[in-house]
């Protein structure tokens, strides 16, 4: 059952991803991206990382996409069609990407991953504990750093977006 769900997710994600980078309508592009992100959240659900899935949905599906939609609306006319890059460039990019995919997959498939069979569930409490622990393997320092970074980014975003008119 999960298997089929995965395949459905996977194919739809790939399809939407391709659509997102090819669509000539800005807004649609953003919405396609939203589907991809939701699909990723779905995968997180499938592997029992519920908390992560939730974050994915809230931060990306909620925050980032909304932000993007707003910016698109601010700087763009909905009807406007995006200009495409030169065909030659697109072909080159496609070839490079294809080769890249080929190489990567080849490497991945020739490597024998030492997979550990498990069906553990990770609770939010575990994550929170780890995140705030300052013992061995604790992430409290990066946690603090990231909060400062977020603050700085927030202020920076406000200042930049405000422009000269302070």
């Amino acid at each position: 059952m999960e298997k089929y769900i995965f395949y459905i997710l996977a194919f739809s994600m790939i399809a939407f991803a391709i659509a997102a980078v090819n669509s000539r309508k800005m807004m649609r592009s953003v919405i396609y991206l939203l589907f991809v992100l939701v699909g990723i959240a779905g995968i997180f659900f499938l592997i029992d990382y519920n908390f992560l899935a939730a974050i994915q949905l809230t931060v990306y599906g909620g925050g980032v996409i909304v932000l993007m939609i707003f910016s698109v609306l601010l700087v763009h006319h909905i009807e406007l069609e995006l200009t495409l890059a030169k065909t030659s460039k697109r072909i080159i990019a496609a070839i490079v990407s294809a080769i890249g995919i080929g190489v990567f997959l080849q490497i991945i498939y020739t490597y024998d991953f030492p997979v550990v069979e498990n069906y553990k569930t990770t609770s939010t409490a575990d994550i929170g504990e780890k995140l705030l622990s300052y013992g061995d393997g604790g992430f409290v320092l990066p946690f603090e750093v990231i909060s400062v970074l977020l603050l700085a980014a927030m202020i920076g975003a406000i200042v930049i977006a405000k422009g000269k008119k302070i």
Binding site: E2, V64, F70, L84, A85, G100, F104, I108
Partner: protein
Amino acid sequence: MIAGISIYEILTLTTLLFFIGVYGFITRKNLISILISVELIMNASVVNFVIINKYLYPDVLQGVLFSIFIIAVAAAETALAIAIIINLYRQIGSVEVDATETMKY
């Protein structure tokens, strides 16, 4: 773990997403579109972190935690990028890459 799905399938998926992002990054001309591609790339790598954590080292949480950090940084980055785009739009009235070539040479 997803029953019936090996790590290879998932990695294939992320690889494809990654390179679709790369393709988009290179070909799109609009800054917001580029941002969208970056999000794709970023998400592909996030999934990789998580998947490898889950499949190979289920007893630890490093991958998950890093993903959380990546998501946080990505969010911050998106916010900043959008701020810059809006500012740029105000300054030059365009968000096309071709219009922002003053750093050339």
